[in-house]
Symmetry: C2
Subunit: 404 residues, 2 copies
């Protein structure tokens, strides 16, 4: 007897994780896939030795307390540290009581969906946007409405029209810095206008910031939250791209009463976040030269981005459009109209190369000619070797001519 | 602006966690509470030194892989190990694909509530039962209907009447072994009948087994799941009481297709469980003499139970009824009718002693004269010293006479 309900039966595999599963299946058969599909940071830079030392310190100094039940809102010393940490984003007027620690940033997004989405309500996102968020919003019953992007981020006039049309928007979801998948950052005037629009249309902004510190010129933009005089912005932070994703530590920032409601939800859903992991993150941020680590990682990612840009420009079909990302992990490539990256996927995958089809990112079903390429996980050698092969396959699949 | 929705606004603090929070507040003011309220295992037996060694092994042998993104269904070697582990409960016909690793057992219960409860549907539980589960089922919109217990567990005739009345029961929730709070185990004939009733009334059994191995005579009962020829039983396992709760590792066992649906839910909700913790649990179960650890812990808990039984019998009011628990962490004491443990709580708490009022456990609002006392966390000395003080306060509050 299989469990069933309207809710469960409507769930499908998360689109991104279905690609991960395909890659894992090949690995089990001994085949190695060159994956430009991941949203992965590069494991060679995970601070494994620091973690060894940190784990030892935690268990020696804190003993059983580090693996006992603990508070649902999070480990207070970590929450207090994050108050300082958020000053990087010019978010200055918060206390630790505005912070809820979550089991990865995804859990924070899911809590907001669960809390604010009712069947039929609308969530507005950038078009394209992060499929893992779209899947979650839809899973909890939202209709997702996408708003187009230009080089300054989400188009605010189109957003206002969407808010006019959908008066019941649960919230506006945005990745304002080095957006996934486009790599674009929202300009400061738009950040300010976004806050005003949320206030005018009585809705919320969910600001997802996993890539904000992966900045290739070192500059960090002020968070939308830093312009939020109304309490309309809920900020979501993550350590998955800057330390390591397997630790599953994220956080939400909102007014104290909103955080309290989310804590009640957490009490029901999984009681609390893994204790060791919260302590690991605190000690890593505080004691292990995080800034230097960040500088090293972004330097490497910048070089990989450059190598990928070069290779794509040389081997992808004429007419391919690229946005040069100023940070983050991804390059968004729009192939000439008429090419179909969804159709092309299996053809490319049989040669053990993977990317994410653009359609996965687009709430309106567009993006069929686009693909997202991850440049953070693969070495420059690998990028220089396999992107031309990918380019060739794209050209041969489409029957188009390669540029040169 | 505070986030709000019908769902969010209906959530209240989890009853158990509200006591924990009170205790933590006193601790911040430098006051130590003698808590018989916890559902805590005793941290002095947490395998801290084993974990130090395990952490080191994991990071040396597996490096960054141990903290990279990983599969949503769980770490396969742990899932495979749990197939062997479940043979303790006579659950023999499963493969690792029947197992989903969750962030603590609470998360598994929440997934089932989310997946199977719709507003207005009924969940049937023992009366009394674990408040954390009741809170979760209600949080997702269920009406909870309690079925009375006797020394053989849930009353099957009353259960059948409840199933007749509530034809839309989402599932029956039971803690069959050393039940929380009563310490009672369900007899084998009732386990068999429960499976038949689930089949007859087209519903599911959620079998929660966190205490099954904390058995004072060393015997482990066959799980209800082991009698399940219809696929009607979903088993929930936990490491919180046998290793350490802060690791947040639990698991659900169900047919493969049901597990797949729950994986889709997990992909949306938090992607995956902490990688390190899954590896810690596997290595601890497999390499660190888990059976010997278990024997030591249960020996200590048995002695503490005995000390508590003695102290309660000597100091609680005449007419107090006790069930002698054959395992688990708790003693359930029913004071004479008319005494009110909810009213009495603050009076006792001002003397820095805590328990859990019986009403928290009873879906029908009964249990006002009962309390749950935890014997696993406090030393025998502490139990022998503070239970008589508690007994005295109960007697003086109620104006009743102490026995003995």
């Amino acid at each position: 007897m299989v469990i069933h309900s309207e809710f469960l039966d409507a769930l499908t595999p998360s689109s991104l994780r279905s690609i991960t599963a395909k890659i894992r299946d090949k690995a089990k058969r001994g085949e190695t896939v060159v994956s430009f599909a991941g949203g992965l940071p590069s494991p060679e830079f995970f601070p494994v030795d620091d973690l060894r030392r940190i784990n030892e310190q935690i268990l020696l100094e804190e003993g059983g307390e580090a693996i006992q039940y603990a508070a649902s809102d999070g480990y207070d010393p970590l929450r207090m540290y994050l108050v300082e940490f958020m000053k990087r984003y010019q978010v200055t007027d918060i206390s630790y009581k505005n912070i809820l620690i979550t089991s990865g940033a995804q859990q924070g997004l899911a809590y907001l969906a669960k809390g604010l989405v009712t069947p039929g309500s609308v969530v507005i996102t950038e078009n394209p946007s992060y499929p893992g968020a779209l899947d979650t919003f839809r899973g909890y019953g939202a209709e997702v409405v996408g708003v187009k992007m230009d080089e300054d981020g989400m188009d605010m006039d189109e957003l206002e029209r969407a808010l006019e049309t959908h008066r019941n928007a649960a919230f506006i979801y945005t990745i304002a810095d080095f957006q996934n998948p486009m790599g674009i950052s929202m300009s400061v005037p738009r950040r300010k206008r976004l806050v005003e629009l949320a206030e005018k249309y009585d809705t919320f902004v969910v600001e997802d910031g996993p890539y904000s510190l992966i900045s290739f010129d070192g500059r960090v933009m002020p968070a939308i939250k830093s312009f939020d005089t109304y309490g309309r912005v809920i900020y979501s932070g993550s350590t998955s791209k800057t330390i390591a994703p397997g630790l599953r530590i994220g956080w939400l920032i909102a007014d104290e009463e909103s955080i309290q409601k989310l804590v009640y939800l957490k009490m029901r859903d999984d009681l609390q976040v893994n204790n060791m992991a919260q302590r690991q993150v605190l000690r890593y941020f505080r004691d292990c030269g995080f800034d230097e680590h960040l500088r090293q990682v972004t330097d490497v990612y910048r070089s990989r981005r450059d190598t990928m840009l070069r290779a794509v420009r040389e081997s992808f079909p004429q007419g391919t459009r690229l946005v040069v990302p100023g940070g983050g992990l991804f390059l968004w490539a729009e192939l000439p109209e008429g090419m179909d990256t969804l159709e092309m996927f299996d053809y490319v995958f049989q040669k053990n190369i993977a990317y994410v089809p653009g359609a996965f990112f687009c709430p309106d079903g567009s993006g069929r000619n686009a693909m997202r390429l991850n440049f953070s996980t693969s070495s420059e050698e690998k990028i220089a070797r396999y992107i031309p092969i990918l380019g060739e396959m794209i050209c041969s699949f489409g029957g188009q001519k390669s540029a040169s």
